[in-house]
Structure formats: structure tokens, C-alpha cells
């Protein structure tokens, strides 16, 4: 990260707006493509005012909401190409408040600019904007009100965060010494990571204080909220299993020898597919596979991987006509202390892939 002191001249900033805030027109101009204007426009003037002499908004990139929404990733790439020419050190988008299409566009622009230009990217949204969940990982999204009535607060929040990102404090508060501002202090949606922070009180002191409050019937703060899970309806049964193509999924960490996809033994976030015929042939060859999962004793699985992924039993069922086909690849992941959110995402990703391949059913085995 480049601090402002080290820069020659002023920090350059590029700002993204939709057609409305970019003063091209209302909903009737939402189909308009990218337009670039020099200097700040609309909310950009408020941003510039709050930035003062710290930085200069050199250009405003504007795009119609409908144009962007038609193909967000392609539009974002088009937008990045326009931003790239300005040698910017910081990128702002919006704020989008509760506007859904605009929020997604701001998020997509932030993601693309951050990934391509490696500069801090900041936007602002209301908590119910779909852009928050879609892009909170990829951008600093300041918490804003529902509408442009909250513009002043939103702009101040974005600028304060921007300045903080460009001038990291000398004394890091994080154990890892990374420069990440506190979401509470800077008013942005946490980016789905967690970090260790130094505190005044020990864990022991806090636990006794809080338990005593709980015992006295006084208010107390738990330091993490319990999860809420949605109920998932059981899908309808397969009409004819004898014709269905069935895939195996396992989180037991069974991978080809050498672990080519780099699945982790714990806290794993990846999945991969492996050809069953070469990986789990009828005659087991223990030199072709290994178990990367570090949360169970894999002795039985290493001796015979069919005990994790019952391919042998399935082959028999296929031969006898009771099951249709065994899908040619095995879907593998390593499920040891992986966060539930990522597990759900992997399920969606695997499901989509199976659907694409015409798999009709899946058997999931765990350890």
C-alpha cells in the first residue's frame, strides 16, 4: 500500500456513478452505456469536499443501471478498462443506498477494480441491498441509510475509511499486523473474514464479568451470535433409480496422491472431481490416492477407499440393474472445521455442476 506521504503529488481517485447520480437522466436513460467525465460529478462533489486537499477525484465513470445489469461481469470489465488509465490510488462507487441494480453495479465495479488494479475500493449501501451479500468480500461497503437523504453521512463514512486505508496507523491493532480498519469504528459491513485484535481485558476477566452479569439478570453481550439455519424441504424421490445416473460426494478428503488441487486438511475451502475409473478402479491401487483430511483416523479409508466412497457396492447395484449408472467422477472435498457458509456454497456449486452433467441423484458420505 502506498501512503500519501510517499506519493509525488496528490492521491488520484476515480468514482463510479449510475446514470441518475451521474446526471445523465432518470430511469429513461438507464440503458445508456459507459460515459467518463473529468473530475467529480453529483455526489462526487460532496466526496471531493470531504476529501479536501487529501486527494483529487480525477474522473467519474458513469453507466446506466440497465446496461450494467444485463451482463454485470462484462460491464465491470468494460468499466475497469476506463478506470485503469487514471493511475488512481483509491476507487469509490456510489453510494447506492437501497437501489438494488445500482448496488450490484457498485459492488461489481469495486470487485473488478480491486482485483485488476490492487487499490482500495469503497462503496456504500443500505443493509438490505442485495449488493451487500454479493460483494462484501470484495469491497469495503459502508453502511448507509435507505435513500439519498443519508448522503452526507454516507460520504463522510466513505472518505474517513478511504483516508484510513491510505494512511495506516503506525501501531497495528491486529495480531497479524495487517492494515484492516475496524468495521465497528469505520462503519462498514465486515468482509466475511475474522481477525485477532488486542484487547485490554483478558478472556478470563471478560468471562467472569459477563457470567456475573448473566447470573444477576443484568444485560450481557455474548461475543458471537448463534447461527440460524433455514429448514430445507426434502426433495421428491427419484421415480426410477434403475435408470438414474448417480454421483458420489464425500467430505472425507480422499484425493489423488500428491493432492493436485491443494485441498487442505482442515479449514478447507475447495472441492474437486476425480475420475472414478482411474482413481478407484475395481482392483484397488493404494499408490494413486491419499487422505488429506486431518480430523479423523483414516486407517480404514487408506486400506480401502470403498469404505468412504462405496463405489464397489454401487458397481454391484449397477450390474444387477438396481441402479442406473455410476457418474464417471467423484466429487471430493475435505470437511474438517470448514465454515458452514462455505459448505453451503460448495453444495450449490457441486449441485449446479451435477445438473449440467445430467446427474440425477447424489450419495453423500462423511466420516
Amino acid at each position: 500500500m502506498v501512503s500519501m506521504d510517499e506519493r509525488e503529488g496528490q492521491l488520484k481517485v476515480v468514482h463510479y456513478l449510475n446514470q441518475f447520480f451521474g446526471q445523465l437522466g432518470g430511469e429513461d436513460t438507464a440503458d445508456v452505456g459507459f460515459v467518463v467525465k473529468d473530475g467529480p460529478v453529483g455526489p462526487g462533489r460532496a466526496l471531493q469536499k470531504a476529501l479536501g486537499d487529501e486527494a483529487e477525484i480525477v474522473a467519474t465513470v458513469i453507466c446506466g443501471d440497465n446496461y450494467f445489469a444485463k451482463e454485470p461481469e462484462g460491464a465491470a470489465q468494460e468499466g475497469v478498462a476506463l478506470v485503469a488509465g487514471y493511475d488512481a490510488g483509491l476507487f469509490f462507487a456510489g453510494p447506492a443506498f437501497q437501489a438494488g441494480r445500482y448496488g450490484v453495479a457498485c459492488g461489481a465495479m469495486c470487485k473488478a477494480v480491486g482485483e485488476a488494479l490492487h487499490i482500495p475500493v469503497i462503496t456504500g449501501m443500505f443493509e438490505e441491498n442485495p449488493g451487500v451479500e454479493m460483494y462484501r468480500r470484495n469491497a469495503f461497503i459502508c453502511k448507509t441509510g435507505e435513500s439519498a437523504r443519508g448522503m452526507t453521512d454516507a460520504v463522510n463514512c466513505m472518505v474517513k475509511l478511504g483516508i484510513r486505508l491510505m494512511t495506516p496507523p503506525a501501531q497495528a491493532e491486529l495480531v497479524s499486523r495487517e492494515n484492516i480498519p475496524s468495521p465497528e469504528e469505520y462503519g462498514y459491513f465486515p468482509r466475511l473474514i475474522n481477525r485477532n485484535v488486542y484487547t485490554d481485558k483478558t478472556v478470563a476477566e471478560r468471562s467472569v464479568d459477563k457470567l456475573l452479569a448473566k447470573l444477576r439478570g443484568e444485560p450481557f453481550d455474548t461475543e458471537v451470535q448463534l447461527p440460524t439455519f433455514e429448514r430445507i424441504a426434502i426433495p421428491p424421490a427419484i421415480k426410477d433409480v434403475s435408470k438414474a445416473e448417480i454421483a458420489f460426494v464425500s467430505d472425507g478428503g480422499l484425493v489423488p496422491a500428491g493432492n493436485p488441487d491443494g485441498l487442505s486438511g482442515r479449514g478447507n475451502l475447495r472441492w474437486a472431481t476425480y475420475e472414478i475409473d482411474t482413481f478407484l478402479p475395481e482392483k484397488i491401487d493404494s499408490s494413486v490416492y491419499e487422505v488429506v483430511h486431518t480430523g479423523y483416523f483414516p486407517v480404514e479409508v487408506i486400506a480401502n477407499p470403498n469404505r468412504l466412497v462405496p463405489v464397489d457396492a454401487m458397481r454391484d447395484l449397477v450390474k444387477s440393474g438396481q441402479a442406473g449408472r455410476l457418474h464417471r467422477t467423484f466429487f471430493s472435498t475435505s470437511g474438517n472445521a470448514t465454515v458452514a457458509r462455505r459448505c453451503a456454497e460448495m453444495g450449490v456449486e457441486m449441485g449446479a455442476e451435477m445438473k449440467k452433467r445430467g446427474v440425477e441423484a447424489a450419495i453423500l458420505t462423511s466420516t
Binding site: 466475511l192 475474522n194 484487547t199 478472556v203 455474548t222 470448514t338 462455505r342
Partner: protein, 430 residues
């Protein structure tokens, strides 16, 4: 039970012809210490070094950290079952040296997760041990000794050294005496203060090296332990020690058990310290049910607690078991505070919780022990191993102690996190 810990502040550590303490300087007869350690026939040699803050040294293959302690008024009573003969720890007088530690390394370890410590640079700043002076032991295995036997011997060498050093300070004026006096039977008298117990998860067999549990309790392992009541002084005074590998928990941390000390501090003022229930992580559902129902019953029906704080050891299964026990406590009407930490730095803290019970509405976050940190190499010398010694990295790479930068999970750097509540770290959503 009354325990007096007589603390002597040690400002310097020097080799000397006779082990003694004078004017806050501890002199160590290295030859005599070596002879003492090598009386154990399982050890072939031992490399003994003194290290100081700011030394450009990285100690690798670290197995334990021990505070020098010895009993003053009892014979053969140090670390009972490990060094001394079996007797109940926790009463009488104990000498404790502050500002100095014993670092125990196993240069021949085959364990995947071995801890390390730096005496200078960022690594030293992150660790509570970076500012102490240490006696470093690195023994080698005698021919014919099995690996796990050797590990036990290395562990005990560290404890013996701690006793030897503390004994050497005999005659030095005491700087401060800490009194831990808790007569649990008489605490049963009526008081308006809430009775608070502590559930101490001692061990999890999930990390057993070569399928054998480490001894950590009066000289024995606790794999088949059923929940038991301890006096807190037993924990502070050598009845419990760290396992054979540091995972945010070593003997020094147990000797200075932060939560027990905090409960003592508040005893009689804000609460009545009702005692300690100790248990272990269970590997199968039936055993989990036994552990959780028995532990909760001891907390409620034997200690008569109104509230309980529960601490865990490293890992996901310990997290699950702690939730089960806390849930059983709440069912019996005992209010709980549960220690937890996420097992991965991705997702929200809520995503990382491995239990889900509405009754567990007070969760206290320790630091995320699996958080990744990077520190540039500052060391010029390596003890307990070499510059080629592996330091585990979760990425599929081989990382060595002498690499210009090590990228590791924080539990591998001794003295950063403390599962017993002593660290001033909280993990937060970012």
C-alpha cells in the same frame, strides 16, 4: 487447601560454578544440570543453552515451556507423578521464579505441528515468552528408546530442570507471596454471592501421536477419564501439566492458569469459587453423553454451582464437546459462559460456531488460534533444530525455520494464545 507461592523476580540468568540466586541473578551450574538430566537412561545427550530477550535466536521443535517452581516445605512433592512421588498437589509453600522459563525442545520429533519461539523481532513481540530469559534444553534419544518413551523423558527433563532451578534460588529473599486459600467445604455456608464453578477440559485424544495419549495429570494420561472434581490449587501447583506439544497450552500456562487466578481474585467479593470439574474430549457419542451429563451433574449437584465457565483445548471436537457439557449445565439450571474460537479465518464468527443451542447465549471469544501470521526472519541461530527444520504451513508447501519469511498459524508460536483465558486477544468479524 492453602497454597503460598513465593515469587522471586529474576532479572538475569548466567552460567556459574554453582546454581544459586543472588541479587535477582540466577546462576546455573550447567554441568550439574546436564548430569541431572542425563540420569534418565532414555536420553543420550542434552544441549543446554541460555537465551535472552533480543538474542537473534529461533527455538524450534518446541514441546513445552515451564516456569521454575519447587516445593519449599514438602519432600519429593514437585510435579507429583512426573518428578515427585504421588501425592495431592496444591498445599503448602512453593517457590516460583518470575522472569525466567525452561524451553523444552525435541530435535528428533516426527510430529507435524511443532511450536517455535523467537527471542527477537516480531515473533518475540507477539509472544509472552519473548521477554523472558530461558534455559533451553534439546535432548537426543538414547539408542533403543521408543519415540513416545523418549518424548516422555524430554517432557520430564523440562519439569526436573524447572525444579532444579527453583531449588537453586533457596535463600534468596522473596519478592512477593501469592496466597491461594480456598476451603471448599466451608464455602457451603450461605452467602448472597453466586457460586461459580470452572469446567476444565484437560485433553483431547484426537491429537494423540502414534495413537498414544500424552501424560498430563499426576504422571498419567487421561484418555479414559470420567469427569472429576479438582481443587484449583492442584492445577496451579503441578498436578496438571501441558501435553507433549504446545497448542496454545503449555505447562507455564497451566501453572499460571489465568481463569483460576481470576476466580480466586473475585472470590468472596463478587462470587464464591465453587471448585473445578475436569474432563476430557470424548471420541464417540456414548462417551460424549457420559462426559457431558456427568460433568454437568458434578457442577450442579456436587459443587452446587449457580454458574460455570468452561474452557477448551485446541481443536474442533473439543469445541463440540464443550457445547454439549454447557448445554447439560443449562438444562440443570446452571448459567454458563463458554470459551470458543473460530477454526478458520474465513466467514463470520457465527459461521464458525460448531454448536447451536439457544441456551448457550454467552460465548466468550478467545483469539483465533488458527489465524495466519507472517513474520520475517530475524534469527541468526537455531536451537532445538536447524534452519532446515520444518515449520508447518497449511498450504501444500515445505516451509523451513530459516526461510526469509515464515507463514504459520498462530498457535505454533508459543506464548501468543492461551486456552486458559490469559491472552488479551479477541477475534472479531472483519
Amino acid at each position: 487447601m492453602r497454597l503460598e507461592i513465593e515469587c522471586i523476580d529474576i532479572d538475569d540468568l548466567q552460567p556459574g560454578p554453582k546454581t544459586r540466586a543472588e541479587e535477582h541473578v540466577l546462576y546455573v551450574d550447567l554441568k550439574e544440570l546436564e548430569e541431572l538430566i542425563l540420569r534418565d537412561s532414555r536420553l543420550a545427550t542434552v544441549d543446554i543453552r541460555l537465551v535472552y530477550p533480543e538474542d537473534k535466536v529461533r527455538i524450534v521443535n518446541l514441546m513445552d515451556v515451564v516456569q521454575p517452581r519447587c516445593k519449599v516445605d514438602k519432600v519429593d512433592a514437585d510435579f507429583p507423578g512426573f518428578v515427585g512421588k504421588m501425592q495431592i498437589a496444591g498445599s503448602g509453600r512453593t517457590r516460583s521464579l518470575r522472569g525466567v522459563g525452561v524451553l523444552v525442545a525435541d530435535p528428533q520429533t516426527t510430529r507435524k505441528y511443532s511450536a517455535f519461539l523467537d527471542m527477537s523481532g516480531q515473533g518475540a513481540e507477539m509472544s509472552v515468552y519473548g521477554c523472558l530469559r530461558h534455559v533451553v534444553l534439546a535432548p537426543t534419544r538414547a539408542e533403543g528408546t521408543e519415540e513416545r518413551d523418549f518424548e516422555d523423558a524430554v517432557k520430564i527433563a523440562g519439569l526436573k530442570t524447572a525444579v532444579y532451578l527453583a531449588r537453586g534460588a533457596e535463600g534468596h529473599p522473596v519478592d512477593h507471596t501469592e496466597v491461594f486459600d480456598l476451603d471448599i467445604p466451608s464455602q457451603r455456608a450461605k452467602s448472597d454471592l453466586p457460586r461459580v464453578a470452572y469446567y476444565y477440559q484437560l485433553y483431547s485424544p484426537q491429537h494423540d501421536h502414534k495413537g498414544i495419549s500424552d501424560a498430563c495429570y499426576y504422571g498419567t494420561d487421561v484418555r479414559h477419564f470420567t469427569p472429576t472434581i479438582l481443587h484449583p490449587n492442584e492445577v496451579l501447583d503441578g498436578g496438571v501439566v501441558g501435553a507433549h506439544t504446545i497448542r496454545s497450552l503449555d505447562t507455564y500456562t497451566v501453572q499460571n492458569h489465568a481463569l483460576i487466578r481470576e476466580l480466586y481474585k473475585r472470590n468472596g467479593k463478587d462470587l464464591i469459587f465453587a471448585g473445578v470439574v475436569a474432563g476430557v474430549v470424548a471420541l464417540d457419542p456414548a462417551a460424549k453423553a457420559r462426559q457431558s451429563t456427568m460433568a454437568a451433574s458434578l457442577v450442579k449437584n456436587v459443587l452446587g454451582a449457580d454458574g460455570v465457565i468452561l474452557s477448551k483445548v485446541h481443536g474442533g471436537m473439543p469445541h463440540v464437546d464443550l457445547g454439549l457439557i454447557a448445554d447439560e449445565c443449562e438444562k440443570l439450571g446452571v448459567k454458563t459462559a463458554v470459551f470458543a474460537h473460530p477454526l478458520v479465518s474465513a466467514g463470520t464468527l457465527t459461521d464458525g460456531l460448531l454448536f447451536n443451542s439457544e441456551a448457550l447465549n454467552l460465548i466468550v471469544m478467545m483469539g483465533g488460534v488458527l489465524e495466519r501470521a507472517k513474520i520475517p526472519l530475524d534469527a541468526e541461530r537455531f536451537l532445538g533444530g536447524t534452519a532446515d527444520t520444518h515449520i508447518y504451513c497449511p498450504d501444500p508447501i515445505i516451509q523451513r525455520a530459516g526461510d526469509p519469511m515464515v507463514d504459520f498459524e498462530e498457535f505454533l508460536l508459543a506464548g501468543v494464545h492461551d486456552h486458559l483465558g490469559g491472552s488479551r486477544i479477541i477475534v472479531k468479524d472483519y
